[in-house]
Symmetry: C2
Amino acid sequence: MASRTIENYLKQLWLQQQESRGKYVPMGKLAALVGVTAGTATTMVKAIADSGLAKYAPRAGVRLTRAGEQLALHVLRRHRLLELFLVEILGIDWSDAHGEAEELEHVISETVLARIDLLLGHPSVDPHGDPIPSSSGTVEAPELCSLAELQAGSKTAIVRIMDQSAEFLRFAQTSGLVPKAAVVIEHNNPQAGAISARPDGKPPVILSMAAAAKFLVRPCPTAGKQRRKRS
Amino acid sequence: MASRTIENYLKQLWLQQQESRGKYVPMGKLAALVGVTAGTATTMVKAIADSGLAKYAPRAGVRLTRAGEQLALHVLRRHRLLELFLVEILGIDWSDAHGEAEELEHVISETVLARIDLLLGHPSVDPHGDPIPSSSGTVEAPELCSLAELQAGSKTAIVRIMDQSAEFLRFAQTSGLVPKAAVVIEHNNPQAGAISARPDGKPPVILSMAAAAKFLVRPCPTAGKQRRKRS
DNA sequence: TTAATTACTTTGAATAGTCAAAATATTCTA
DNA sequence: TAGAATATTTTGACTATTCAAAGTAATTAA
Ligand SMILES: [Mn+2]
Ligand SMILES: [Mn+2]
Ligand SMILES: [Mn+2]
Ligand SMILES: [Mn+2]
């Protein structure tokens, strides 16, 4: 069994690899994600690599092996099921769920997890729209575009939010920009570097391109190749 | 914040003090309860004493201070609320709940705990009939007698089970000797060292005095002073 | 009351994680 | 291409927790 420390390293590694399309993750990046110094990350990564969960290339970075990926996905599954459980069953605030799940993900037994999964009806996405890995360790990653890519007049629906910070999520919630919400793009002038989006039944919200890029939507305008851009 | 290790020491200490009516708990006993060697317990207890949570008397034992007691009760509250939650909401087996709660009790936040408490309707006892300490750190310990003390022909109801081991609890469950179950004592001959108890709607169960003593009941026969005996 | 048994404490060593600061390597810039 | 700036790795040290084994005190038995 991997320690909770190692589980955290693996999970962050997996998430980061998604962002960087499988490239080696540099130590500095991993250290920042886990919240330790770079020296600590180097030490831990060498230990993780020794146990066969990752490949470590000095001065280049780390990458998960298949085994590491599987373990990371199990942790991520626990994390996301717990988030949904906390929100749906316990009524915990959307913006607090992530932090709570960060701890719980390491102590939930398989039995309890199975019960939670059942209680929630084998859900496929968490409260932020993030896909929940299957118990066999697979995730589907649908190609989505973001609010920033839509033209004025488009109508779409929020599917996923790419920022887990409590502050951002609180802002998203009060604005009405939550998963499943329908929105209309009112303005999107690339020159302005900001857009205006109006969630159904709510006043319009002004978003910088950086902020808009955090909201992934569907359907996407078929205008050209649909590309996803993450900050 | 006390570490999970220290929380475990404090909780076991509190439980043991209940058994021994407030006496100093000897190192060997504590070590066995926590599952470490006596030397380790000595070291930890000295650290705990240094932080003001217990009083350590070399070669005599340890005793919680008021502060230590309060902390222990908060851990116990988390433990017991979690047990009930696991059984009632998640449908976890009665006999597994204790082990699961043993881990969870250290990572549940106050927020989540409050939500669980609410969801369960501010319960006062856990699935084993153990009283749940209040959030302000108080427990009432009703004086109960055990099945072993009842005379043949008595009718009573199980209130609490004083053994948390999964095996014993499984036995209790299949026998029908669960909290709230009504039972009739069919035989109790002190000379035999065993009794026969029949739970309502179930076949009679033969119990040694030691086993019978683990089932606390109410009402108690007013015959003489009602005394509780724990193994 | 001496000797044996038992309980407890001390000591020395190990493991997992961590940081700060020093040493290196890489990459960028002029 | 020689610094300068940046990123990474190494080193030495520290905390928390644990065990095994050796030493010490207390209790029990004879
Ligand atoms: Mn975590
Ligand atoms: Mn999420
Ligand atoms: Mn515990
Ligand atoms: Mn209990």
